[in-house]
């Protein structure tokens, strides 16, 4: 994980990247470009609609009165609306703070099955890492959850934990991050690698996450970038999907 920023820094042509105003661009190389979301693409093709549920914990929300509008689910809706014009788009955050993946599955699955969204963005990992849930159980929960959703015709994007420089050495997240990656690989599910992105932003100086504590502005810009990059991933994936099927 640590060799990445160096190599990326060498690969990214610096001139144009610095010229654009879009700071989020600094992370596009870390977002899977060839992802496919066939079920969401089918829903889009048949109904011209895209219902997305963001299933997450505390790090999928921001506090305060403006938090709902500034957090990445709302930013995703705004950015995706621009990328896919003329579509009935709905992003519903389903945020339950301090829930492990297993607790989330137990409590929210029924509701998701009734809502029948086209896509679920499943953000998880931090709570399990803090509580020290057995990584094998964590993986089993993710596997089960992804399989259940796919069986119901719902696509999944997995999102891993935040990079938090101040507490980095204090939470052992490696095992959980690895397991999320493997579940994503095994089920052909895109992994939105929030950890690598935020780490990259810290190392390249895009955002000062050491100081993000007191600075709500930084927090909002980080969420905005996450929402926009996520929108880019989803838009590319639903456009690619039909082509992938005919191949």
């Amino acid at each position: 994980m640590r060799v990445l920023p160096l190599i990326l820094a060498a690969l990214v042509p610096l001139g144009p990247a610095l010229a654009t105003e879009d700071t989020c661009e600094a992370g596009t190389g870390l977002v899977p470009a060839e992802a496919t979301l066939p079920r969401a693409a089918a829903a889009l093709g048949e109904r011209h609609s895209l219902d997305i549920v963001v299933l997450g914990t505390g790090s999928s929300a921001l506090p305060g009165p403006a938090g709902d509008r500034a957090a990445y689910p709302a930013r995703l809706q705004a950015a995706l609306g621009q990328l896919l014009p003329g579509i009935a788009l709905k992003v519903v955050p389903d945020i339950k703070a301090r829930q492990t993946a297993a607790e989330m599955m137990e409590q929210e699955w029924q509701r998701i099955a009734e809502q029948r969204p086209a896509l679920v963005i499943w953000q998880s990992g931090t709570v399990d890492a803090i509580k020290g849930v057995d990584p094998d159980e964590f993986r089993a929960t993710l596997n089960q959850g992804v399989e259940m959703l796919q069986a119901q015709g719902v696509d999944v994007v997995l999102m891993n934990m935040q990079y938090s420089p101040r507490t980095d050495a204090m939470i052992s997240i490696d095992a959980y991050a690895d397991n999320m990656r493997w579940v994503a690989l095994q089920h052909d599910v895109p992994l939105f690698d929030r950890f690598a992105l935020m780490k990259h932003w810290t190392e390249t100086g895009t955002f000062d996450l050491y100081d993000a504590g007191k600075n709500t502005d930084t927090a909002e810009r980080v969420h905005d970038c996450i929402g926009r990059l996520l929108a880019g991933l989803i838009a590319a994936a639903v456009k690619q999907a039909p082509a992938a099927e005919t191949r």
Binding site: R2, P32, S59, G67, R166, D168, A169, E203, A212, K214
Partner: protein, 404 residues
């Protein structure tokens, strides 16, 4: 930062002392060299998001410095305590091993206190709209009655503090393992392999607090320790042909290349599709807790090639450039603890100064410099107290060594 007095136990023994007392079975400086390097790598890996840690081996294959450390510790422990057991019997050698386990326990508790101090400090300055979720790690500070007891029982182990508890459990089981290794080495190795397989198959592990299990499962990792020990009591001669074999070397190279390619697809997700699904189904997940076979084989491949290119008595081992690593490897418990402590301190500095790559480089170099300096001081103390080259251990040395 010297927690423990240096005693002439395996981990801190000076090479000249061994070389002088027993010429045929002289201490293998390669062990000290690679253990010293492993200690540096562990230190670099423990500093969060350290740009320098991209050089560490875990970025290029499945295994990491933990495997090096456990394997070499097994080899050295068998080498030193094996002779003690032959010369002075099971009781004396067993008692020494248990004393060593106690020292490691005390070192672990010391590090835990350092960790508590750091986390308590960080929790006071941690208000964040972005990291409300991460704040929950400070929960355990609210109930010290439970947490401290669980820590003393080795069930509550904060991040990066899992190696010493593993080592303690390995040492507790080592008197019996060594007894068998000296009589029926192959049987001992087979028993260890069987326990490894059983623990992996039936998911035996030690429970942890607040939930889950040990990050380094001793029942699985003991296999690598015993492999090292088996080689340390004479196994190297048995497999000398295997090590020299070109076929084995070619297989090892092929496996390392394979591991490198797989690991690269983790860093460049867009090439992930190059790993065929059936292959992914076989190799994933790579389970560090239970010493995954992929990791074990990766380490053994590295070891075979290392031994091939760095033969015993390699002249370069005397070069001054290797001296610092060898010094660190000869005081591995102290230097390991110092490394963990310095990693905490380095994190502290980074949080306060929020500097860039240059600061990280500075922290890394300063840390390794401090490790070398302390290792050199420890050797100097040893020589000062007449336990250096050629001196035989006095009865008082053991007594003094037990005091903390």
């Amino acid at each position: 930062m010297v927690v423990l007095r240096t005693t002439p136990e395996p981990i801190s023994e000076t090479a000249p002392a061994r070389a002088a007392t027993a010429a045929p079975a002289g201490r293998d400086l390669r062990l000290d060299l690679f253990r010293g390097i492993a200690l540096w790598l562990i230190f670099l890996d423990h500093i969060p998001s350290n740009i320098v840690s991209w050089i560490t081996i875990r970025n290029y294959g499945f295994s990491d410095a933990a495997e090096m450390f456990v394997f070499i510790s097994g080899y050295t422990a068998a080498f030193v305590y094996g002779r003690a057991m032959r010369e002075r019997g099971f009781l004396v050698a067993g008692a020494r091993i248990l004393k060593r386990a106690w020292q490691v326990y005390v070192a672990h508790v010391f590090l835990f206190v350092v960790y508590l101090a750091e986390i308590a400090y960080v929790s006071k300055n941690f208000e964040s709209s972005l990291y409300a979720e991460e704040w929950n790690i400070f929960d355990f500070l609210k109930q010290p009655d439970v947490t401290l007891f669980q820590a003393l029982l080795l069930k509550f182990k904060p991040a990066n503090m899992d190696v010493l508890p593993l080592y303690i459990v390995l040492l507790l089981g080592f008197p019996a393992a060594l007894w068998l290794l000296l009589r029926r080495p192959t049987l001992a190795l087979a028993a260890s392999a069987a326990l490894y397989c059983l623990a992996r198959t039936f998911e035996w592990n030690i429970p942890a607090y607040p939930s889950g299990e040990w990050v380094f499962n001793p029942l699985a990792w003991q296999f690598l320790f015993v492999i090292g020990a088996w080689l340390g009591v004479g196994g190297t001669e048995r497999i000398a042909g295997l090590i020299r074999s070109r076929v084995v070397a070619a297989l090892a190279v092929a496996y390392l290349v394979f591991a490198f390619a797989i690991v690269m697809t983790w860093y460049f997700p867009r090439y992930g599709y190059l790993v065929p699904r059936w292959l992914g189904d076989i190799i994933y997940p790579i389970d560090k807790a239970n010493l995954d076979v992929m990791r074990l084989v990766h380490f053994l491949a590295l070891a075979v090639l290392t031994v091939r290119f760095v033969p015993p008595g390699w002249p370069a081992l005397d070069w001054p450039i290797f001296r610092p690593a060898i010094l660190c490897g000869q005081h591995s418990l102290e230097i390991f603890c110092l490394g963990v402590f310095l990693a905490f301190a380095g994190h502290f500095v980074r949080v306060e100064l929020s500097g860039g790559a240059l600061l990280q480089l500075l922290i890394s170099l300063t840390g390794i410099g401090a490790m070398i300096l302390v290792a050199w001081l420890l050797s100097w103390y040893q020589a000062l107290e007449g336990r250096g080259p050629g001196a035989r251990r006095s009865p008082n040395a053991d007594l003094a060594g037990g005091a903390v």
